[in-house]
């Protein structure tokens, strides 16, 4: 399978991961491209001992962390304008509540509840103990539910 096809298969997921973590479409596209760019070089070292998606998101997470260290995401994500699409109120409520979460909560929820990694896999990606990650996940879910309840 060509590398370009692999990237295309996962492009939307990677983009969603960045978009929901950062809340900025322009930054998300930039980070998506950076992830694929680094994956081109890393592909030479990829031995297939981990699923492609885990390998790719391992790179994506490092890219995200480097960006976050620059202070780009020390704020809540941009809140979508609900009045623009009134028919999608429920979806926008979720987006609105999600965007209010802290960066770490957003990333944690994206890895498990959106991308489908198990907490153990996500903990490995995050480089922390599985137990610690479960605590982080528990709090992130609770925070999101609390935000959704607060949404009028």
């Amino acid at each position: 399978m060509r590398l370009e096809d692999v990237f295309r298969d996962h492009q939307r997921s990677v983009y969603a991961y960045f978009l929901r973590s950062t809340g900025r479409p322009d930054v998300a596209e930039e980070l998506t491209q950076e992830t694929f760019f680094r994956a081109c070089a890393a592909a030479l070292r990829y031995r297939g001992d981990a699923p492609v998606v885990a390998w790719l998101f391992g790179i994506a997470r490092r890219v995200l962390l480097e960006s976050s260290r620059k202070g780009l995401f020390d704020h809540h994500a941009e809140v979508p304008d609900a009045s623009a699409e009134p028919d999608l109120a429920q979806k926008l409520d979720l987006e609105h509540a999600f965007a209010q979460l802290a960066f770490q909560d957003r990333e944690t929820l994206m890895l498990v509840d959106y991308l489908g990694f198990t907490p153990t896999e996500a903990a490995e990606l995050a480089g922390i103990e599985a137990g610690a990650f479960r605590v982080r996940l528990h709090r992130a879910r609770r925070n999101l539910r609390d935000r959704l309840k607060e949404t009028p």
Partner: protein, 196 residues
């Protein structure tokens, strides 16, 4: 503590982004080309630098060897082993043998030639030397017991000459020419007369 129930975040599915896969691969290819070109240029410059230093050193060493092997330096380093400095009259010119050194390859002689107001020789032909340029010269004729040397001067009325005489003849002839190439005179130098 139990996990909160998983959330359905499917609604967070974003619209399809612009093609970042293709853009990333193109960017990577350009980077590879760029790095390759830069590497080749860097290696080429480094090789040129190494070659310059290497050949420069070889040239310096070669020059040094030539200088050390030359009769001027041999005499400068070792000094003359003669104790006499005879002056010979050659036509209107005076030739003084200052230093004589017995070398493994023959005799080395350091001489001063004075034209006494006359220009000496024109120089340039094989077997001759411009005395004012301190060049070394080889004899025109060599033999077991004698050698003949011609000294020419480019126009000055005085100068030095370093003469290499292969072998160790007991005597060698020194021929002096004027600027027109005409012979001024010839002398025979007996080595026994100058050596101690």
């Amino acid at each position: 503590m139990t996990d909160e129930e998983p959330l359905d975040l499917g609604a967070l599915e974003p619209p399809e982004p612009t093609d970042q896969a293709r853009a990333a691969i193109l960017r990577f290819r350009w980077r590879v080309v760029f790095v390759t070109v830069v590497s080749i240029v860097a290696v080429a410059f480094a090789a040129m630098g190494v070659a310059t230093v290497y050949f420069g050193q070889r040239h310096d060493i070669s020059m040094l060897r030539d200088w050390v092997a030359g009769p001027e330096s041999q005499i400068a380093i070792s000094g003359g082993s003669n104790c006499k400095t005879p002056t010979y009259k050659v036509g209107y010119a005076d030739v003084t043998v200052l230093q004589v050194l017995r070398h493994t390859n023959g005799w080395l002689l350091h001489m001063v030639v004075q034209g006494n107001g006359h220009a000496l020789g024109t120089g340039g032909e094989p077997g001759s030397a411009d005395v004012s340029r301190r060049a070394s010269i080889l004899p025109l004729v060599t033999g077991a017991t004698s050698a003949r040397v011609r000294i020419q001067d480019p126009g000055w009325d005085a100068g030095e000459a370093y003469v290499v005489v292969p072998g160790t003849p007991d005597q060698f002839q020194l021929q002096l020419n004027d600027p027109s190439g005409a012979e001024v005179g010839t002398i025979a130098v007996n080595m026994a007369d100058v050596m101690c």
